[in-house]
Amino acid sequence: MDFLKLVLQLLIPGLCLGCVYGLNGIGSALLYKGSHTINNAQGAIVGLGALIGYSIQQGLKIGLIASTAIVVVITFFIGVFLQVFIISRVERRSSMYVVIATLALSLIISSISMLTFGSWTFESATIIIHGSKYLHINFVNVDILWSNIIAIIISFIAMISIHLFLNRTSFGMAMRSAAMDSFAAESCGVSVVKTRAVTWGIMAALGALGGCLMGPLFGISAGIGIAMGNKGNTGAVLGGYGNMYGAIIGGLIIGMVETIFGYIYSPYQSAFTYALFLVFLLLLPKGIMNEKAIEEG
C-alpha cells in the first residue's frame, strides 16, 4: 500500500509537469514546422504569462481558471505582436538570426518582468473544491492537490482542441499547408504572414497556459519559465522535433523522469535533465516519431 501511495504521489505531479512541458513542446513543434526556427523566448513568455495571471488574480479578485483564460487571450496577442513587429523582420534575412533574436527577446522580456514585478516568488490562487485544496483518496490514504488534477485536465483539453483546430478548421488547414510548403501555400491563396503570426500567438498562449497552471505547484516568479521552456524543447527533441504529438509524448516522459529522478537524488536534477536533452539530441536525433529535423544533410 505504501508503494502505491508513493507511485500516486509521484505520478500526479509528474504527469502535471509533463503536460506543461508538452504544451510548450507543441508550440515549438508548430513553429519549427511552420518557419524552421526555434524560439528561445518561450520560457520568458511563460514567466510573463504567469505573472500577468497573478496580477489579474490580485486585481480582479478572481480564481485561477478565470484568470488563466484572460492570460491566454493576452499572451496570444503578445505572441502575434512579437512575430509581426520583430521576428518577421529578422526572419527575412535568415532563420539563423531568429535564434539570436529570440534569445535577445528572452533576455528583454524576463528582465522587464523582473523589473516590474520584482524577482521574488508569489503565492498563486489555488483551486478549492468542497472546501479543501486536496482530493483525499481513502483507498490509499493519500492527498492530491486539486489544482494538479485540474491542470492535467485543462492541458489535455488544450491539446485536443489544438489538434481539432489544426485538422478540422480551414485556418488550421491553411496553417498546416503553410508549414508543409510556404511557397505553394502562398500561391494557393494562403496568407503565410497570417499563419506565422497565429503560430506565434498559439505558442505564446500555450506556454502561458502552462505557466499559470503550474502556479499553485511552484509559486509564481519570473524565473519559473526559463526551465520550463528548455524542458519543453527537451521533450520536443525526444518526441521528434517538429512533430506535435511527439512533443506531447516527449514532454510527458520528461516530466515523469524528472520527478522520479528528483525523488531519488536532487542536487543534480537540472544537470540531469540537460544531460538527457544532449543524449537525445545526439544519439536519438529522429526522436520517437522519426522526424528528420535536427541533423544537417
Partner: protein, 340 residues
C-alpha cells in the same frame, strides 16, 4: 610634412607607433591620479573579455556555428588552472594542462555538434553551459569548493609575481595582441579559409573538397581553447572565482560582445567588448544593475539582429563603401559633363 601624411604606408606606421606608445604608457598615466587604478582595472577586464570574444568569434563568426555556452569553457579554463596550481604544479604547466582539458572538452562537444543544424547547436551549447554550471555548484568531492568559490593566489610566472593591475596590464595586453595575431594567422591560413568557405556554403565548400565536419571541429576546438585561456586570465585578474561568476549571463555577454562588434571581423569583438564594458560601467551604479544589464544585452542583440547584422564594424565598412561608391559616381558624372 603634408606629403608624408599623404603617403599611406608612412601614415600607417606613424599611427601604429603612436598607438603602441600610448598603450605602453597607459598604466603610468592611470596610476598617477587617484581613481586611475579603477580605470586600469576596467581596461584589464576589457583585455580578458576581448580574448574570450575573439575566441567565440572564431566559432561564430568564421565557422558559422553558434555557441551559447561560452561560459562553460571559460569556467573550465579558470577552474582547471586554479585547481592544478593548488596541487603544486608550476603555473605554465598548469595552464598548458588546463588548455588540454578545455581542448578535450571542446572536442567532446564539437564532434557530435558538427552534424547539428544551427538552431539545435544553440540549444545543445546552452545545455552544456547549464550542466557545467550545475557541476561547479555541486562538484564531486567538492574540488571546486561549491558555492563558496575559490580565492586565487597572485599569478606566478617563473618566479615573477604579478599582483597589481599595472603589472598585469602588460601581461594581459601582450596576451590579447598575441591572440589577435593568432586569429589573423588562423583566418589567413588554409584551415581558416576552409572554415570560412564552410560557413558561407556547406554544399559549395564540400564540392571543392573541403571536409566540412573536420573544419567545423577544428574551429570549435580552437575557439574553446581561446575562451579557456581567457578564463585562466580572468581567474588571476579577479582573484576570486565562484559558480556565480560563470553563470549563463557570461555566455550571453560574450555573445553580445561578438555580435555588437561584428562577428566575422578581426577587430569586431574587441570593439564590441569596449562598447559593452562602457554600458556595464555606466549601469554599475544603478540599483538592480544585473537586471538592467540583462535588458541592455537583450536590446543590443536585438538591435544588431534587426538593423546591423554585421555589427558596428560592419556598419563602419558599409559607410566606407558607400562613400567610395559616391565618390566614383561623382567622378563619373564629372567625366560625362566634360564629355558633353
Amino acid at each position: 610634412m603634408k606629403k608624408i601624411f599623404k603617403n599611406k604606408k608612412i601614415r600607417n606606421i606613424i599611427i601604429m607607433v603612436v598607438t603602441i606608445a600610448l598603450l605602453m604608457v597607459t598604466p603610468v598615466i592611470f596610476t598617477s591620479f587617484r581613481s586611475g587604478n579603477y580605470y586600469l582595472n576596467v581596461i584589464n577586464y576589457v583585455f580578458v573579455y576581448a580574448i574570450a570574444a575573439t575566441g567565440l568569434n572564431i566559432m561564430t563568426g568564421y565557422s558559422g556555428q553558434i555557441n551559447l555556452g561560452g561560459a562553460a569553457y571559460f569556467s573550465v579554463g579558470a577552474y582547471g588552472t586554479v585547481i592544478l596550481c593548488n596541487l603544486g604544479i608550476p603555473t605554465i604547466f598548469a595552464v598548458l594542462l588546463a588548455m588540454l582539458i578545455v581542448a578535450f572538452f571542446g572536442f567532446l562537444t564539437a564532434v557530435p555538434a558538427a552534424k547539428l543544424k544551427y538552431h539545435f547547436l544553440a540549444l545543445a551549447t546552452m545545455a552544456v553551459g547549464e550542466i557545467v554550471n550545475n557541476i561547479l555548484i555541486v562538484s564531486p568531492g567538492g574540488i571546486t569548493n561549491d558555492t563558496h568559490g575559490m580565492f586565487v593566489k597572485a599569478l606566478d610566472l617563473f618566479g615573477l609575481k604579478l599582483s597589481k593591475d599595472s603589472q598585469l596590464y602588460y601581461f594581459l595586453l601582450i596576451s590579447m595582441v598575441l591572440c589577435l595575431l593568432f586569429t589573423f594567422a588562423f583566418i589567413k591560413s588554409h584551415t581558416g579559409r576552409a572554415c570560412i568557405a564552410a560557413r558561407d556554403s556547406v554544399d559549395a565548400a564540400g564540392a571543392f573538397g573541403v571536409d566540412v565536419k573536420k573544419y567545423k571541429i577544428i574551429a570549435t576546438v580552437v575557439s574553446c581553447i581561446m575562451i579557456g585561456f581567457a578564463g585562466f586570465l580572468f581567474a588571476y585578474l579577479n582573484r576570486y572565482i565562484s559558480p556565480d561568476t560563470f553563470a549563463a549571463g557570461k555566455s550571453t555577454m560574450f555573445m553580445s560582445m561578438t555580435m555588437l562588434g561584428g562577428s566575422g571581423t578581426l577587430f569586431g569583438p574587441l570593439l564590441g567588448t569596449i562598447l559593452i564594458t562602457i554600458i556595464m560601467e555606466v549601469l554599475r551604479g544603478l540599483p538592480g544593475a544585473g537586471l538592467y544589464l540583462q535588458l541592455s544585452y537583450g536590446l543590443v542583440l536585438l538591435a544588431v539582429m534587426m538593423f546591423m547584422p554585421f555589427g558596428v564594424s560592419g556598419l563602419i565598412s558599409n559607410i566606407k563603401t558607400k562613400r567610395i561608391i559616391k565618390k566614383k559616381r561623382m567622378e563619373e558624372m564629372e567625366k560625362n559633363n566634360v564629355g558633353s
